[in-house]
Symmetry: C2
Subunit: 140 residues, 2 copies
DNA sequence: ATGAGTGCAAAGGCTTTGCATTAGG
DNA sequence: CCTAATGCAAAGCCTTTGCACTCAT
């Protein structure tokens, strides 16, 4: 698993336990943000409460990001500076989610517009998140 | 309140009750998506359960849209074809949300990229939602 | 050794639902 | 009139928390 993630965890004064390693490995392998259900299903030996607690720790350590894609439960993915900036393709019917990268020039346009709009309203440290929605192959 | 909304409600075979009119008026006045808590607070005579139920009806009638901005509760706003296409400016610290319109050329760039990316993955009826995140005046 | 992490079960908090009553068309 | 809508309270569901036990350092 990622050396960077482990270092960041230590840097936050947190221990690198087996459960946390397992979480990081699962999230690294995924090509989409995972639900708690996904995670526990792929590793039934992990206690659900520990998964919740460790994801909070990983989030606070800047390793993991919690994303709400519109379904009724949270999804988790590695922080963007451990992967790459990307967005999500969300099916409005079944709720499935896939990672999605946009062309660099589009990203620049969005980022520029986001920062400008934010500062105009007195917001600082502006970032953005974009979900592309539609009907997936199975649902269309 | 909006004639279009009332018509759309009727068209969906739903009754235009006092509660539903009240909801539509509140949402029309708002310049941001509202939480259930916001709504019940501004109209304490509305029963919370009826608000939930009516928002489902309004959503299924294509009048209201449920948005998850990352906080722990849902927010509701009028559907875009009753208002205008817009996005949200979300404070990552306090969770406050404001409506945000972007320049038309930026929207076109985003929409084009979104549709292209979606169709490449086999998605149809592609749309998009964008949240600009940052720290608001009070939290910065 | 010793405080953090874990697992189980119980509690929380937003949202949904059952049921008797009220009201829209 | 007759069905849908309402309000209250109870139930659901994802998530968080309490507590005793175990493990990382």
């Amino acid at each position: 698993m990622s050396v960077a993630a482990a270092g960041r965890l230590r840097g936050a004064g947190q221990r690198l336990t087996g459960n946390r390693q397992a979480l990081l490995e699962i999230l690294e392998r995924a090509d989409r943000p995972l639900t708690i259900h996904d995670i526990v299903q792929s590793r039934p030996d992990l206690a659900q409460s520990s998964v919740y607690r460790n994801l909070v720790v990983l989030e606070q350590s800047g390793i993991v990001r919690r994303v709400m894609t519109g379904g009724d439960f949270a999804r988790y993915e590695l922080d963007e500076d451990l992967t790459d900036h990307h967005h999500h393709l969300v099916c409005t019917s079944c709720g499935s989610v896939e990672d999605l990268a946009l062309p660099k020039d589009v990203e620049e346009t969005i980022g520029r517009a986001a920062r400008r709009a934010a500062s105009r309203r007195g917001f600082v440290e502006a970032d953005h998140r974009l979900d592309v929605t539609g009907l997936c192959k199975n649902c269309r």
